[in-house]
């Protein structure tokens, strides 16, 4: 479908500050001790066997922390992967630094969903840290793709 001149023009006029007709997708935020969580989301899995979740973890403390484990009641397993799917046991978060879990990079891979997450719903994800303890975040579920 080609954009009509009117739509195209209004998009033009809206300028580059606004993406045309697509509000920013929802993302989860939260905090635990010195840790701040932003940009959290999961993708609606294509198959029951695997899916991925992402978030940004900022460590505002003076001491490093480590993400030891992720889990969700909707999936039987979870592991961490780096770029090119390298399996990572734990993920360090330096003091005053951050850990970015993002598409195409390090991410949480869920395995074997007992309940298929659906776009528009949320996925409960519990993260366990060496220092800060545990937190459960409700990650909004998006569909795959980058407009």
């Amino acid at each position: 479908m080609r954009p009509t001149p009117a739509t195209a023009l209004s998009c033009l006029l809206a300028g580059m500050l606004l993406a045309c007709g697509s509000p920013p997708p929802p993302a989860a935020e939260g905090a635990l001790g010195d840790l701040r969580f932003t940009e959290g989301f999961a993708n609606e899995p294509i198959i029951q066997a695997s899916g991925a979740a992402y978030l940004r973890i900022e460590n505002r403390g003076a001491l490093p922390d480590t993400l030891l484990e992720a889990s969700s009641p909707a999936a039987r397993g979870a592991m961490f992967h780096g770029g090119a799917m390298a399996h990572l046991m734990v993920l360090p978060i330096p003091a005053g630094g951050e850990l970015r879990l993002e598409p195409g990079g390090t991410h949480i891979m869920f395995e074997d969903f007992s309940e298929m997450p659906r776009a528009g719903d949320s996925l409960a994800v519990t993260l366990r840290f060496a220092r800060a303890g545990s937190v459960t975040l409700e990650l909004p579920i998006r569909v795959y793709g980058t407009p």
């Binding site: 033009l12 695997s50 992967h81 799917m85 195409g104 891979m109 793709g145 980058t146």
Partner: protein, 206 residues
């Protein structure tokens, strides 16, 4: 009217891609500079391989994609991160493009995980994106033979929690072969739907 729409669309493209010179469409010689996908130099010749399609029939890649824009991607259905993003992006963009462009493009997905990805599994997976997407599998030797002709590296097996939950590291790149049987551009991870929407019609015109 058509010209006006094109004009506005071109303006839009320029607005979105700051710094890109406004060029007339459809150059006769291949012009990778006009594309969002990064150029690969020297261009990659179209590989010569025969694998098995999702109907269980032999698929001769060169023959079957002759005269078409062939988008070639190696991945696997259990891949949760990169593969679904590429496939979802291309499917979404094709739905918005003209029948002519759709007719000119063939999306070919080759599994790097023949153990789990049977033709049936691949078909069900690709149908979630676009029923026209072509899915290929083969034995390890045939798959390696295909990949060896391309700058896509060798898939890396990563064991999982148990024998059935392994993952496979693989190239994140979609190769785009034009009608000259060369890939002048590649599409790494991070490429967006707006990039495909810009490039696919241009590739189809080559």
């Amino acid at each position: 009217m058509r010209t006006t729409i094109r004009g506005v669309a071109a303006l839009l493209a320029v607005t979105m891609l700051l710094g890109t010179a406004c060029k007339p469409a459809a150059p006769r010689t291949f012009n990778p500079e006009g594309l969002a996908g990064p150029k690969i130099d020297p261009p990659v010749p179209k590989p010569d391989f025969i694998l098995t399609d999702t109907d269980g029939k032999p698929f001769n890649f060169r023959k079957e994609t002759e005269g078409k824009v062939a988008l070639l991607f190696f991945g696997y259905t259990h891949c949760p991160d990169i593969c679904p993003v590429h496939l979802a992006n291309i499917a979404a963009v094709l739905k918005k493009l003209s029948p002519e462009v759709n007719n000119a493009v063939r999306m070919v997905f080759v599994t790097t995980d023949p153990r789990r990805d049977t033709p049936e599994v691949i078909r069900a997976y690709l149908d979630k994106f676009d029923a026209r997407f072509i899915g290929l599998s083969g034995d390890s030797l045939a798959l390696r033979g295909a990949m060896r002709q391309l700058p896509v590296g060798t898939p890396i097996y990563e064991p999982g929690a148990n024998d059935s939950t392994y993952t496979i590291g693989h190239s994140a790149m979609v190769l785009a072969f034009t009608r000259d049987n060369l890939a002048h551009v590649v599409y790494p991870f991070g490429i967006r739907q707006q990039d495909w929407a810009r490039d696919l019609p241009l590739l189809a015109e080559q």
